[in-house]
Symmetry: C2
Subunit: 118 residues, 2 copies
């Protein structure tokens, strides 16, 4: 399951640096190698990135994960989508925080009331 979160994050990292290995991506993203491998395959399947496995100047094997034009386009879309989701989260979080603040205040009053009774 390729979530918007990793769809966005992987595309961003690869847009900035297509030479990242799967292990580097995993470290960067804080997820396992297996999951990175899965996400990359998914992104390749839907045509967002293309793997160029060429030999570099020193005839050394080099994997490069390049964003396709579709991938570049999708990155922009998914970024906006991801931002919007974060904004929603933000709103929810603010409400939660407000409720928690209220509750802490109420608890303080309760405790004070109990202290007065003792």
């Amino acid at each position: 399951m390729l979530t918007d979160e990793y769809r966005y994050k992987v595309l961003k990292l690869l847009a900035d640096n297509p030479c990242l290995s799967q292990r580097e991506l995993a470290r960067e993203l804080g997820i396992s190698l297996g999951k990175v491998n899965y996400c990359l395959k998914a992104l390749i399947d839907i045509g967002m990135i293309k793997v160029n496995n060429f030999k570099n100047s020193h005839n050394k094997q080099a994997y490069v994960y390049l964003l396709t034009p579709k991938g570049i386009e999708d990155k922009a879309k998914v970024t906006v989508r991801f931002l919007n989701r974060k904004l929603e989260e933000h709103q929810v979080l603010q409400q939660e925080i407000e409720a928690l603040r209220q509750e802490v205040i109420e608890e303080e009053h309760t405790t004070q009331g109990e202290k007065l009774l003792q």
Copy 2:
């Protein structure tokens, strides 16, 4: 594993209404019955709540999950702890949002640049 999140949420719900059944708690919390059962057991084990299984006025069985004094105290502490964690999350989220906004702007410029070249 009893996380602070559910430690807080269950204590809050039960403080407000000790008569909630496990199924009602599950619905309220948006989690499964099994998980609620596990959380309650954990809270009972560490002495935060006590289950009163008495017969009510009509001799009908009734489960009541009451907060112990320790539970009331813990609820206050865990609420503050939970609030602090939410505040941290909030800060992280704001930074993420700012970064995403920046990125959307950059992408717009890039796209415009490409459009100009076409």
